[in-house]
């Protein structure tokens, strides 16, 4: 019984979602963003993921590195997630690299992106453009079908 109480208490402390003081930068949102992007990238590629985020922040770097392999340069990556307003010319262009954005308007106007992860009406959204998925020969798992749209 003592063991049970001890394990119970440890579990309570370990799984407590509450925090006392947020002394370190709050990173729960970046953690979830990293998990979602990693899930999307891994499902879109037929090879191990090498992710590149232009102008990645220190915090993003430490969090994303927990879930995937980060590429130091654009050229070495097979999946590029552009989540900041960066100079488009500074991003390498390769046929075999997949480009993903967090800006829906960019997705619509720039053929390079095959999908976007963005917010709409206070809810996170994922959109893949069917024609661009076909062009890149990407076969997504069935759980992603709900996000595929036939936008021209």
């Amino acid at each position: 019984m003592k063991h049970f109480i001890l394990i119970g208490l440890l579990t309570i402390f370990t799984y407590a979602e509450n925090y006392t003081f947020l002394v370190k930068p709050y990173q729960k949102e970046i953690e979830l963003e990293a998990k979602i992007i990693t899930e999307i990238a891994a499902s879109s590629l037929n090879e191990p993921l090498k992710l590149f985020i232009p102008e990645i922040s220190k915090l993003e770097k430490s969090v994303y590195a927990q879930y995937t392999t980060l590429s130091a340069t654009c050229e070495d990556a097979n999946f590029i997630f552009i989540n900041k307003n960066v100079d488009e010319k500074s991003i390498c262009r390769s046929k075999n690299t997949l480009y993903f954005t967090n800006n829906y308007r960019k997705l619509l106007s720039d053929e390079r992106y095959f999908g976007a992860f963005f917010w709409n009406k206070s809810r996170p959204n994922i959109v893949f453009i069917q024609r661009r998925l076909q062009a890149h020969r990407i076969h997504l798992p069935s759980s992603f079908e709900q996000f595929i749209e036939s936008i021209e």
Binding site: H3, F4, I7, T11, I12, F13, Y15, A16, E17, N18, Y19, T20, F21, L22, V23, Y26, K28, E29, L32, E33, K35, I36, E39, I40, E55, K84, N85, N103, Y104, R105, K106, S109, F118, W119, N120, K121, S122, R123, P124, I126, S143, F144
Partner: protein
């Protein structure tokens, strides 16, 4: 037994496996917690997340303020909701500071937000943080002890238009429209417009006092990763409730205020370690009152010739301008973060029109009450936070404010500092403590209304220490906070002669107990109780607390709350305890359309405000709020 426990743990793990839908849902929940801006190093924080604002149907900022611990919100003689120190009904402008994003909202005249940004609608607000601590160390500008940071919704997380319409059983209404977009070039904007009708009426001696009025707000914000531009306008017009009338029943009266600000922030360098901010605020206010029994207008009264100087008509129009420039540089290392900043603020005050008419119907063009009408404050700020070990962080701040004033007011310098420590020995236990020395300078308003025998008021000097302990146990969280405040030269408004520096040290202590329990992922119980002592005569509640329960089930959100403030006695009047019970529910017809109903003050036992009928006469009591039902709808498109 252990095997059974392990099986249970594994099943739970499978149940919460991380599918893409689950991750998106969690991402939305994490965003609703609105914790990204919390800064534990600047004080003791009370946090109102987007989820809580939505579930509890907090409609305006005052809905939040009235439940805060060691805090009272009452109505003043003009019918405006006024925050005051616990135990007092003293409107200590400057003690409370309000920020929208990083811009301080207040009039340059009296440092108050009541006329301009009071009762701000929360339709475009993401979350609110209330800090018990010194605000000016972090933002450079004017000092304050208890400050409220209001954060607007992030346009990149909205990308939508939103309509909010609501009306209450007293025929007050609020209508808002919010629009936000992220553009292809990375810029994003948020725009908000609102019109609200406020109603406050009381029957007094067979007459109706009212502060019924209209408030309008326009807010626009555009930003990208390194720049932010905000512009906002608000105006307000209403009747003046009891006003300045000696018998508390004006024959006629009105108040008007127009307020505008523009605020530009720019970050430099890759790590955004250089920050510049430039802002400009303009405030125009009109006041008119007439009363055959006379008006107690302190600045024009001559106690030796009261019959000739008591006005029966008072008409005033003022303009106040405030310009602020801020520059900071942060040096961040692995364990040490050092910030240095300079801030310059210039305030000017013009009297466009100020006349009084006395009992003999003689009209006097009063003009400025005195020659103090500009002030420039130069500030130098340093801040260091040092991580001594994994579980100990030390914080130190110092600031010097040089006030240069024109006219009869002399220049002065206030030196402020703060030291503190945060200790988190385990994930479930934390301790935090600060000692602060600060000062709140007099304003144009306090000098205008200063007692005739000492017009040159000194800065109020505050020394306070605070200790907070936080403990989390599973889904529970307990916080206990203690504060001790000593105030020298407190600027107090004596109704007969006006503002004066109190000649002795005022002491106040407070103890806050706070308990939160998450009954499930969607349901939460929140208890709070506080008690305080004050070394002066008490004329407001000193104890209080609340019980809140909020949650959601399928398409329904629901809440109920009880806010308690204790009874007290002032001279011959006994003011009963207040039990403000509210409940409400929201039905989400679709993800984008919802209807809400909220019943306020069900028991009709709201807090009550004390007014003095004559200058040295009897006291009267008026309810701060009535029982009412509010229905509203929200449509996102």
């Amino acid at each position: 037994m252990i095997k059974i426990f392990l099986c249970f743990a594994l099943s739970a793990s499978f149940a919460f496996s991380e599918t893409i839908d689950y991750l998106l849902n969690e991402y939305e929940r994490a965003s609703d917690n609105s914790l990204q801006t919390v800064d534990e190093k600047i004080g003791h924080v009370i946090h109102y997340s987007q989820q809580e604002i939505r579930l509890m149907q907090y409609r305006t900022l005052n809905d939040i303020l009235r439940e805060l611990p060691v805090f009272n919100v009452n109505s003043n003689r003009f019918g405006l909701s006024t925050p005051s120190l616990v135990g007092t009904k003293t409107t200590t402008s400057g003690f409370f500071r309000f920020f929208i994003n990083d811009h301080e909202l207040s009039s340059g005249y009296d440092q108050s937000t009541l006329l301009s940004w009071g009762d701000l609608p929360l339709d475009f607000i993401d979350h609110v943080e209330i800090y018990y601590g010194e605000s000016s160390f972090s933002f450079g500008n004017e000092t304050g002890i208890y400050y409220i940071r209001i954060y607007t919704k992030e346009p990149e997380k909205e990308n939508a238009s939103e309509m909010n319409l609501g009306v209450n059983s007293k025929k007050a209404y609020s209508q808002s429209f919010t629009q936000s977009q992220t553009l292809e070039n990375g810029w994003k904007y948020l725009m908000f417009v609102n019109q609200s009708r406020t109603l406050k009426e009381s029957d007094y001696k067979n007459q109706t006092l009212n502060a019924n009025g209209i408030r309008r707000y326009l807010f626009a914000d555009a930003s990208n990763e390194t720049s932010r531009v905000t512009a906002a306008y608000t105006d307000f017009s209403s009747n003046n409730y009891a006003g300045l009338s000696i018998d508390a029943i004006p024959d006629d009266g009105r108040m008007r205020s127009k307020d505008f600000f523009v605020d530009v922030t720019q970050f430099f360098l890759d790590d955004r370690s250089i920050k510049t901010n430039l802002s400009f605020d303009a405030n125009k206010r009109d006041y008119y009152e007439e009363n055959a029994q006379g008006l107690w207008l302190v600045p024009v009264l001559d106690l030796t010739h009261l019959g000739l100087t008591i006005p029966v008509v008072f008409d005033e129009e003022l303009e106040v301008f405030k310009t602020n420039a801020f520059l900071s540089k942060t040096f961040a290392g692995d364990d040490n973060t050092f910030l240095t900043a300079i801030n310059v603020q210039h305030k000017s005050y013009d009297v466009n029109h100020r006349t009084t008419t006395n009992f003999l119907h003689q009209t006097t063009d009063v003009g400025a009450y005195n020659d103090f009408d500009t002030e420039t404050i130069g500030s130098l700020i340093v801040q260091d936070s040092y991580r001594l070990s994994d579980d100990v962080t030390l914080v130190a701040n110092a600031k010097s404010d040089r006030h240069r004033r024109n006219g009869f007011m002399e220049d002065s310098t206030d030196s402020l500092y703060r030291i503190g420590a945060i200790y988190t020995p385990t994930d479930y236990l934390g301790l935090k403590s600060f000692y602060t020395k600060t000062a709140i300078a007099p304003t144009f308003y306090t000098i205008d209304y200063a007692a005739f025998f000492d017009k040159e008021l000194q800065s109020q000097r505050y020394r306070f220490y605070t200790v907070e302990a936080a403990l989390t146990l599973g889904e529970s969280k307990v916080n206990v906070t203690y504060d001790h405040v000593a105030i020298d030269d407190f600027i107090y408004y004596d109704p007969t002669v006006g503002f004066l520096n109190v000649d002795h040290t005022i002491h106040t202590e407070g103890l806050i107990f706070d308990y939160e329990y998450a009954l499930s992922r969607n349901d939460k119980l929140h208890l709070n109780y506080y008690t305080s002592t004050l070394s002066e005569t008490i004329n407001n509640s000193t104890k209080g607390g609340y019980i809140k329960y909020m949650g959601s089930y399928q398409k329904w959100d629901y809440f109920t709350s009880l806010i308690y403030k204790n009874a007290y006695r002032y001279e011959t009047i006994r003011v009963p305890s207040s039990y403000n019970v509210s409940l409400g529910t929201t039905y989400h017809l679709t993800k984008d359309l919802s209807y809400s109903i909220k019943i306020n003050n069900i028991l009709d036992k709201s807090t009550r405000s004390l007014y003095q009928e004559n200058v040295s006469g009897t006291f009267m009591l008026e309810d701060d709020s009535d029982r009412s039902i509010f229905v509203s709808l929200q449509w996102i498109f």
